[in-house]
């Protein structure tokens, strides 16, 4: 008898499921990216240094710190604990990284390794840029969803 609410409920459930998948995929990407860098912090320090934006000692500090932050925020997305905090940090990280990458390109520095460590060293600039924009897009979409108050009570 009450078909309308049931369909609406099903659609809403399905959408939530889709958003959860997005959470897991994006969170997984950052856990993967962080894990790769955890295994070779020295190489990551060199990669950061290649951008020639930060002095070496700060780069080394970041090389030890950032990968763990990525892993924790990725987990936050997947486990939905500290979700908002994780989402905002990751969005900020990707945005800063994009700006740094574009700045490096403009200055003529050739940076082919970035957030995926040396695993992505074979990719060219466009591929990197496209992937990072896609990740930023997903993060922003997740942010919009939270901002529009849909599942605020789930985001612990």
């Amino acid at each position: 008898m009450n078909d309308a609410p049931t369909i609406k409920h099903q659609t809403s459930n399905f959408l939530n499921f889709v958003w959860r998948i997005v959470d897991v995929i994006v969170g997984g990407i950052f856990i993967y990216a962080g894990a790769i860098k955890v295994f070779d912090p020295v190489q990551f320090a060199i990669d950061i240094d290649n951008y020639k934006i930060l002095p070496w000692p700060i780069g080394v500090g970041l090389a030890f710190y950032l990968p763990w932050l990525e892993i924790l925020c990725g987990l936050a997305l997947i486990l939905r604990r500290l979700y908002l905090g994780g989402l905002s940090i990751l969005t900020g990280l990707v945005a800063v990284f994009l700006v740094a990458t574009i700045a490096a390109k403009v200055r003529g520095l050739d940076i082919t390794c970035g957030c995926f460590g040396h695993a992505s060293q074979n990719w060219n600039f466009s591929a990197h840029l496209a992937l990072d924009l896609a990740i930023l897009g997903a993060l922003l979409a997740l942010s919009f969803r939270v901002m529009s108050g849909n599942r605020l009570q789930d985001a612990v």
Binding site: F64, Y65, L152
Partner: protein
Amino acid sequence: MVKSSLVRQALILVALAFVPGFVQAIFFWDKVSWRSPVPASEMVTVTQARAWGENTIWVDARPDNEFARDHVPGALPLNEDRWSELLPQFLAAWSPEKKVVVYCSSEGCNASREVAHRLHKEAQLANVFVLEGGWEEWLKEKR
């Protein structure tokens, strides 16, 4: 409301990440050079190297033709083009109490660092140093 919990959560994550990061940094304490890309102890100035006097073995990491043109008096050539050919004669001159100073053309060239690295890693020699400023700096000090 949302904003304050966002900030709180973000701060928690930022703080939490310091723990494993710090632990890992401890593990890597002496495997990483914290102050510069090449560990500070590995570089040496012309003045310091000359002060070591007779105890120094000078190693020229530049290509053969540059060595032939001019080099530090008494220096031995050792470059990556003819590594296995030149290494034995260097080792013949070496003994444990000597200090090895490797140079290439200037601050910018990498050959001295690579040769020093191989002597340190493959031949496992201690007391291997890279000359700050390279051949250019040596010429300046000669005046």
